[in-house]
């Protein structure tokens, strides 16, 4: 018998127990980094200083066009040269956060541009200082509308956390692979990992769809 239900039930708690928490943790922290850094990039991209906005644009395009795995290796091998001794989880969070911040920047940019010009003009007419215009007028209108799009990227991120197994982080896929390698039975653990990802991303997408209805995505 190729498929062994007994082993399936034996492996399930191991994969879930070892991996799920790490996947959750990495995705959550990675998203926080991506959302914050993405906002910084979006604002720098809009800077009136030409050099700043061009450099930011080039950085965003570069990160978006190159593989996350290579970026992960870059950080993993180069951080120690600068005396930065991060653990693999921290390195993974930074890599994921950095990579997805460039996507988040694009989302924020679209959200900011979707705020009607009249809002800017009104802020000018009230002679609000620039910082206050951003904080009290533009961003409160832009951010809620971009939440579903950001949520989508978090779903993508969940599915990219298994990359971290290349630097020794045992997320769901890592835990499954470890279990499989120790017993030489690959079928059940890796299938479990696939099913878990399906459940995770499916339920997350339901959440995003709910969010989309709440905030009313604009077109």
């Amino acid at each position: 018998m190729i498929w062994d239900w007994d082993y399936f039930w034996e492996a399930l708690p191991i994969v879930v127990g070892d991996g799920l928490w790490i996947t959750f943790q990495v995705t959550l922290l990675g998203s926080i980094v991506a959302y914050l850094l993405g906002m910084v990039l979006a604002l720098l991209r809009r800077s009136r200083i030409r050099v700043v906005s061009t450099v930011t644009w080039a950085f965003i395009e570069f990160i978006r066009s190159t593989p996350l795995l290579v970026q992960l290796f870059f950080l993993f091998f180069v951080f120690p040269d600068f005396g930065l001794k991060f653990g693999p989880v921290t390195t993974g969070v930074i890599a994921l956060g950095l990579h997805y911040s460039t996507y988040a920047a694009e989302v924020y940019r679209a959200g900011i541009e979707a705020v009607p010009v009249g809002q800017w003009e009104a802020a000018t007419a009230l002679s609000l200082p620039r910082a206050r215009t951003w904080r009290a007028v533009i961003l409160p209108q832009a951010i809620p509308r971009v939440l579903p799009a950001l949520g989508n990227y978090t779903i993508s991120m969940v599915k990219e956390t298994p990359l971290l197994l290349t630097i020794g982080v045992t997320d769901i896929a890592g835990a499954a692979f470890q279990e499989a390698s120790s017993t030489y039975r690959y079928v059940e653990p890796i299938t479990i990992a696939g099913l878990l990802f399906l459940v995770l991303s499916y339920s997350a997408s339901l959440l995003v769809r709910w969010l989309e209805r709440r905030v009313g995505t604009l077109h």
């Binding site: 190729i2 570069f62 978006r64 066009s65 190159t66 593989p67 996350l68 795995l69 290579v70 970026q71 290796f73 870059f74 091998f77 180069v78 040269d81 694009e106 989302v107 679209a110 959200g111 979707a114 509308r145 971009v146 579903p148 799009a149 989508n152 990227y153 978090t154 779903i155 993508s156 969940v158 599915k159 990219e160 956390t161 298994p162 990359l163 197994l165 290349t166 896929a173 499954a176 692979f177 499989a180 690959y186 079928v187 890796i190 299938t191 990992a193 696939g194 099913l195 990802f197 399906l198 991303s201 499916y202 997350a204 997408s205 339901l206 995003v208 989309e212 995505t217 604009l218 077109h219």
Partner: protein
């Protein structure tokens, strides 16, 4: 500092062909699957739609890494023989990105104005003629920019083939170069990143040419963007399907 530069470049280049093969192979399979399943999702038959939906959700909802591990480690147990790593990799890239592509095709076909359907019906075209002569050519123009983004994602995804020992560029750097040149890690990885950047730019140029050709085909004026710039997708108008998340 740059003593080993030529060694690094030549070693990474040895993986270039495999990266290109995997990417091109993946693109071919993904494109075929995108059209097959994209159109199947618009089928009148409920069963066909359901099958297409299941394909899309499974391949978008599970992680690419897990899919690779599954094809490489699990499938041989089930079918009895081992698959060449490169082939396994190309199949996974094709199946995974085909699922995303199917949504692109579906969306583009649906975005063709309804009047075009009505016109085709009024002219007494058969459903096949209607799709091939009227709808698809117009949908094609809309598809090219999102496919550009998709193919770049696929190129990036090809780096994961390292994990199933395909000797492509990332593998060359990780398994051949890095251990003996750990002090120059930054240079090695920067070079690898630049290789990928160049490939991504080549994909964009190719797709821009394709877009202009497709636009001319339906008598539209190609827009004036530079040949290097890819169109960003409208991130806010995203409709999420289950398993989803955009690329």
């Amino acid at each position: 500092m740059f003593d080993n530069l030529s060694l690094f470049v030549s070693t990474i280049s040895r993986g270039l062909l495999l990266t290109v093969e995997a990417t091109v192979g993946g693109i071919l399979i993904a494109t075929v699957l995108s059209f097959v399943f994209g159109l199947a999702m618009l089928s009148r038959s409920r069963t066909v739609r359901l099958v297409a939906r299941i394909y899309v959700e499974i391949w978008r909802g599970t992680s690419e890494v897990v899919q690779l591990l599954w094809i490489y480690f699990v499938l041989p147990v089930l079918i009895g023989y081992r698959i060449v790593p490169l082939v396994a990799g190309i199949v996974v890239l094709g199946l995974n990105f085909g699922a995303y592509g199917a949504e692109i095709v579906r969306g583009a076909v649906q975005s063709v104005p309804k009047a075009q359907y009505e016109g085709a019906i009024a002219l007494n075209l058969t459903p096949a003629q209607r799709m091939r002569r009227v709808i698809l050519p117009q949908a094609l123009v809309e598809m090219v920019p999102p496919f550009n983004n998709l193919f770049i994602q696929l190129l990036k995804g090809s780096a994961l083939l390292t994990m199933i020992t395909v000797h492509e560029m990332t593998y060359q750097a990780r398994e051949v170069l890095i251990d003996r040149n750990i002090d120059q890690a930054w240079l090695i990885w920067t070079l690898v990143l630049l290789f990928y950047l160049v490939l991504a730019i080549l994909i964009t140029i190719g797709m821009r040419l394709l877009e202009r050709w497709a636009a001319r085909l339906v008598g539209r004026k190609p827009d004036e963007r530079s040949i290097f710039s890819r169109r960003k997708k409208p991130v806010l108008a995203e409709t999420v399907s289950a398993g989803g998340g955009p690329l």
